[in-house]
Symmetry: C2
Subunit: 338 residues, 2 copies
DNA sequence: CTCTGGCACTCTTCGCACGCGAGTGCCAGA
DNA sequence: TCTGGCACTCGCGTGCGAAGAGTGCCAGAG
């Protein structure tokens, strides 16, 4: 096991490297942190840390930089989550409170996270399947054409066109709307399929086709992977990545454009608290030189979706984790109010 | 005025530079294009073109590259719009037809444009103010809380919460819904304010406050600048910008994150056809080294919104213009069908 | 056993000079 | 008006040497 001082040395290396973006040498370390020992001693510790795979040198005569494994140890054992200051908290709250609808909440959250962390922000819309139904609306747009509108308790609104196999009267429409709502309002979306399956039986033969069509459209809307949406922002922060970045930034931008990749990325984090995935821990290889800090958020105790940031592995983990956690908390509050 | 051959030379310079990304010299020009004259002659022509400001040399002993003014002349006089090939057209149509709702149409359009042009795509949602009302729905979520849902003929759905000053009965709600729709359904959004202003008078004193609140929320939703939304994609293509691009890409990404900037950018183009703004013609200085190719699209003859691409001034103008025009046309068709 | 100072060694980086090659401008002649 | 020739200018890549940062190892002290 590593001695206490060696952990201190690792912590110091991470902090310095995050600050300066340059490999850190033994001399600089002893000058900036008062470790109480000489550079020579630190060199021995560094050799040990390198032996264990926590740090590495880009070339023989350079300082050391942390490896993914080194950052992992730093995050798990050496650093806490840095809480936001009261003024920052107030700013977050004020900024989010001005939102007029869910799109606006999500858009503001993205901007906020990107600004606070100076990294790329990703915010998932509240998942339908983890929300409850507030209301289902059916509108008649043409004799054989309906619009189905789903409204969740988190403020998300989803609409779909329905082409009916036969004209559908106003009375039938009102009937269906009422029956549908009495069954599903306030229930979880995951329960909807079983709650509505026998609904066509309550209607006249003429209308059954339409009712079935409406229901199947409703169920399609709830299919996982299909119903997930997200918003990203702060991509301009990628330019602060590093000096070499033409090659680095490219795959990251590409990965960020693939919603599927991002959803998987956020989905992987099962932890109830803030989750950090560092470098190669990310399955997608375009993101092998980035870290993802994510957390679930929700209006009640339960998470309805996730949000997070994507940045270089060389990032300020305590600060980023603090910002992500704080933003998630306030977004949850806002959703609960609406 | 420039002689015919000098224009040919300019055209050749633009084409070569777009292809190779390198300054083009007199010798290379005569080899690649059979202009029927010697390099020396071309040199004289180049000197003249440089004198007039159409081309420039990065350093004394380098070839020439087109200036913004040179590209402008090229776009206006020397190049047409390159039409898409039939297979490409079919691919566009197929890809867009799979969309399930407006968000999906816009998302698919962005991906399509980004792929076709290999540049950054920007697509504006159909403007509310230039659309007509299909339906206005009012839902009661709580005794003193309503949800207002606006649906346009282009498939756009906008929702807002309304906190009522007093509880609002189901009967009043149905009444308001019916009156509202009979007045505004099928009308243009710009006419809505004058169509509804006397509506509160038709209600009992108790309900007037709520009716007014609903109406003012409705009108707020229609305020220009507020109601505009857009989606962008293909930012990974920015990495193909050039060699020097840390400095180039940064301001572009920043500009792209500012919806206001983009909306202005698209809004500036008044032309009914494809509009091209080259380099410094763009007001925003972050975009001074990019060109914007945009066009309006709409379900009928009239444009309800714009779409376009942002790329380096060194871009394939004829091809890009062709792609943008074709995509706009098919999006218009899809919207008309839905 | 651990820490320390010293010392030799390794590599990267930077500055500089140099030569090559691309491209130009100009001029005299067709 | 066009062409071929020629001298000139620069940017770019290469090679070399000095400087500097950082390391590893070793012998000695606590």
């Amino acid at each position: 096991m590593l001695s206490e001082r060696r952990l201190q040395v690792l912590r110091a290396i991470v902090q310095d490297y995050v600050g300066t973006e340059e490999p850190v040498g033994s001399k600089a370390l002893t000058e900036r942190h008062n470790l109480g020992v000489s550079p020579a001693t630190v060199r021995n510790d560094m050799a040990a840390l390198e032996e264990e795979g926590f740090i590495a040198q880009p070339h023989t005569s350079a300082g050391r930089i942390p490896t993914d494994k080194g950052y992992r140890l730093f995050v798990d054992k050496l650093a806490g989550v840095k809480p936001m200051s009261p003024p920052e908290r107030r700013a977050i709250q004020n900024f989010l409170e001005g939102a007029v609808d869910l799109d606006d909440v999500v858009a503001r959250t993205v901007r906020l996270l990107a600004q606070l962390t100076r990294q790329v922000a990703v915010v998932q819309y509240p998942s339908l399947t983890r929300s409850t139904v507030r209301h289902v609306e059916l509108l008649s747009l043409a004799p054989a054409r309906l619009m189905l509108v789903l409204i969740t308790d988190t403020g998300r609104v989803e609409q779909r066109m329905v082409d009916c196999p036969a004209p559908f009267g106003e009375a039938s429409l009102a009937d269906l709307r009422a029956r549908l709502n009495s069954r599903v309002a306030g229930r979880r979306f995951t329960d909807v399929p079983s709650l509505v399956e026998d609904l066509p039986e309550a209607f006249e033969a003429d209308d059954r086709g339409t009712v079935s069509t409406v229901l199947s459209t409703l169920l399609e809307t709830l299919v996982e992977e299909n119903e997930e949406r997200l918003m990203i922002g702060g991509t301009a922060n990628l330019t602060r990545f590093g000096h070499d970045f033409p090659l680095t930034i490219r795959p990251v931008l590409e990965a960020l454009e693939e919603q599927v990749v991002l959803l998987k990325l956020l989905g992987e984090a099962k932890d109830p608290g803030v989750t950090v995935r560092i470098g190669h821990e990310n399955a997608h290889e375009g993101l092998n030189s980035t870290s993802v800090v994510s957390v679930g958020y929700g209006s009640g105790g339960e998470a309805v979706a996730k949000l997070g940031v994507v940045g270089p592995t060389r990032m300020d983990y305590p600060g980023t984790m603090g910002a992500v956690r704080a933003v998630a908390r306030y977004v949850g509050q806002i959703l609960a109010e609406s």
